[in-house]
Amino acid sequence: MAKITLSNLAHSYLPNPQKDADYALKKLNHVWEDGAAYALLGPSGCGKSTLLNIISGLLSPSEGQIFFNEQDVTQADTADRNIAQVFQFPVVYDTMTVKQNLAFPLKNRGVDAQYIETRVNEIAQMIGMQDVLNNKAQGLTADAKQKISLGRGMVREDVNAILFDEPLTVIDPHMKWELRTQLKALHQQLEHTMIYVTHDQTEALTFADKVVVMYDGKVVQIGTPKQLFEQPEHTFVGYFIGSPGMNLLPAKIEGSTAIINGTSIELGADYNNPTGKVEIGVRPEFCSFSDDGSGLMVSITRVEDIGRHKIVRTQFAGIELNVIAASSARIPADTCHIKFDLSAINVYVDGWRVEGQQRKRQQTKGEAAL
C-alpha cells in the first residue's frame, strides 16, 4: 500500500510534442492518498487510461515523475511496482482452470502453495465462483471471465494499488451493481489504494470517496461527489455530471447582476466585471417555476416523466434550459418563468468557475431578499 505522487506528469504519443494539443495527458500534479478509493471520470479519449497505464508502468511518461511513497518509480518495471490492474475486457488464461487463473499472480511471485490455496478460495468466495473453480476458463461467459479478472486483480494482498480500467463495461446491469458494492466493501476491508476509471458517473459517484474528473487530457476537478454536484469547477464537470447536466447560459456580469439576453438576474455575490467567455451555470435541480413573473421567460418544449421526477426541457432565447420538477408538480403551459436557487448559481469565466465576493458595504434589493 502506498501513497502515489504524480509530479509534473505529462504524456504524448507523438515523438516530439510541440503544442498543448499534442499531449494526450497534459501536465499534472496530484497525490493519490494511501488507502483512498478514487474514481477517474471522463469521456472516452480524455486520457484516463493513459494516466492509469502510466501509474501501472505499462506506459512510460514523456515528462515528469511518479513516486510510490517517497520512492521514484518513473522508470520502474510494471512487475517492480507491485500493482494490480483490471482491464476493460476480460483477460483470462484460456487453457487454465479458474483456480489456476486466480493463483497465477501469486504463483509467479513464488508464494507458498498452502497460502495460495487458502487465498484463492477466499477470492473465489468473494466473486462467487467456488463452484466452478476446477472448470476451464475458456468456456465461461464474459461476465464470469471478467469476475476472474477482478479476482486476479485482488488476489495479492500486498499490492501498492489496484487499478480498474472500466472493469464493468461487459457485465450485466444487475451484476454490475452487485460487483460494485462488493468492490466497495472490499476496499473498506483491505484499505488498498484503488483507482477506478469509468465514464459512467453513477459508477464513479457510488464507488469513490473522491472523484477525479478529466477532460481533454487535463484533470478539471478533484472532489467528493457532493462538491462535484454543487460546485463544479469547470463547465465540463457541470455538464458531464448530473442527468441532465448543468444549464449553462452565456451572460454579461456587472457586479452582482447577470444580464442574460436582456433579462437581469441577481447572483447573490459580487463578481466585479469579468471579461472573456462568461457563463452562469445552474443545475436543473435548482431551477423552479416562479409564479410572480420574475426570472427568465422560457418556452417549454418537452416534459419527460422519468418516475421519480419530471425533466422539463425548455428553451430560452435558443438555449436549452432544463428544469427538474417533482413528479407531482404541475407544469405550467407553454410559456412560463424560471427562477434559480440563489446559492446554487455558479459563475464561469472561460470555462472555469470563479468565486464571488459576498457584499458587505451595501445591500442591494436583491440581496435583501435573501
Binding site: 497505464n53 512487475a79 490492474q85 484460456d94 487453457t95 476451464k136 475458456q138
Partner: protein, 289 residues
C-alpha cells in the same frame, strides 16, 4: 398440410455436373485402370484387386513411403517450431512489419519448379554459390552423388520455401491477441515463457492446426521441387511417393499398378488428414470445457 417440394434440388445440378466432370469421372478412370490389365491394342481385362495386392506388398512402395514419412516428419518438426519462433520475433507494427511480411511472403510467390531450379543451381559444385563455396572450404558437398547432401539440400529447400506459410499464419494469430493480454501478463508478473505458454500458444492453436494440416498434405504430395533438384536420386534415395508414382505411370507405363498406387496414396492422405483434424479439434474442444 405443408406441401413438400423437392424441385430446389435442380439448383444443385450445375455443381454436381461440374464436380462430376472435373473430379469424379477422372477419378473413376483411375479406378477403372486399377482393376484391369492390358497387353496393348486398347484391350483390357479384369484383374480384380491384384494390383492393389501387388502394390501393398511391393518393397519399392514401402521404401518410397518410408522416405516420404521421414521427409514429412522432418520438415514439419523444423518448419512448425521455426515458423512460431520467427513470427514471435517479427515487429508487430510500423514500416518494418510490412517489410518483414513482404520478405517472408516472397518464397511463397515463387513457382515450385523455379524453387527447384534455384536450389539446383545454388547447390551445384561447378557454378553454384553454395556448392562451390562449400567445396572450396573443404567440405565434401555434392547433392548429385551424396545421399546425405541430397537430403539436406531438399529439406533446406522445403524449409526455405514453406516456413513462410507457417510464419504468416502464426503472425496473423498473434496479431489477433489484444494488447490487454500482454498487459495483464505483465501485471501478473508472468515470465516470457508463461506468456508464450498461456497466452500466445493457446491463441495460436487454431492457425497452427491449419498450418500443420496444410504442411502435412503439401509435403506428403511433394513432387516438383525434388524432381527438379535431384530427380529422385542419387539412386532412389530422394524418390518420394509422387516421384515414384510418376516413374511408374509415365516412365514404365504400368497403368494398372500406378492406378492402384494412386488410390492407395490418395486414401492414405485422406485418412491421415482426417485423423489429424479429429485429434486437433478434440484437443480444442476438451480445452473449451
Amino acid at each position: 398440410m405443408k406441401t413438400v417440394n423437392q424441385k430446389a434440388w435442380f439448383l444443385v445440378l450445375p455443381v454436381l455436373l461440374l464436380v462430376g466432370f472435373s473430379a469424379v469421372i477422372p477419378l473413376m478412370t483411375v479406378v477403372n485402370y486399377s482393376v484391369q490389365d492390358t497387353f496393348g491394342n486398347n484391350v483390357f481385362y479384369w484383374v480384380g484387386l491384384e494390383w492393389f495386392e501387388e502394390i501393398l506388398h511391393s518393397e519399392r512402395m514401402h521404401n518410397a513411403l518410408g522416405r516420404q514419412v521421414i521427409f514429412t516428419t522432418v520438415i514439419m518438426l523444423i518448419e512448425i517450431p521455426l515458423g512460431i519462433f520467427i513470427s514471435l520475433h517479427m515487429p508487430k507494427k510500423g514500416v518494418w512489419a510490412s517489410v518483414c511480411l513482404v520478405l517472408i511472403a516472397l518464397p511463397l510467390l515463387i513457382p515450385w519448379n523455379v524453387v527447384g531450379t534455384i536450389w539446383q543451381i545454388f547447390g551445384r559444385i561447378d557454378i553454384g554459390l553454395l556448392g562451390h563455396s562449400l567445396n572450396a572450404l573443404g567440405i565434401d558437398y555434392n547433392y548429385v552423388q551424396n545421399a546425405t547432401a541430397a537430403w539436406i539440400t531438399i529439406i533446406i529447400m522445403d524449409v526455405w520455401h514453406w516456413t513462410s506459410l507457417v510464419v504468416l499464419l502464426c503472425y496473423a494469430g498473434l496479431q489477433a491477441i489484444p494488447d490487454a493480454y500482454y498487459q495483464a501478463a505483465k501485471i501478473d508478473q508472468a515470465s516470457r515463457w508463461n506468456v508464450f505458454r498461456y497466452i500466445e500458444l493457446p491463441k495460436m492453436m487454431g492457425v497452427l492446426l491449419i498450418a500443420s494440416l496444410l504442411r502435412f498434405m503439401d509435403s506428403f504430395m511433394i513432387y516438383t521441387e525434388p524432381f527438379v533438384l535431384t530427380g529422385g536420386g542419387p539412386g532412389n534415395v530422394t524418390t518420394f511417393l509422387s516421384i515414384d508414382l510418376v516413374k511408374m505411370a509415365i516412365g514404365q507405363f504400368d497403368l494398372g499398378p500406378a492406378a492402384a498406387f494412386s488410390l492407395i496414396y490418395f486414401l492414405t492422405i485422406l485418412l491421415i488428414s482426417w485423423v489429424f483434424y479429429t485429434i486437433m479439434t478434440n484437443i480444442d474442444k476438451r480445452e473449451g470445457m
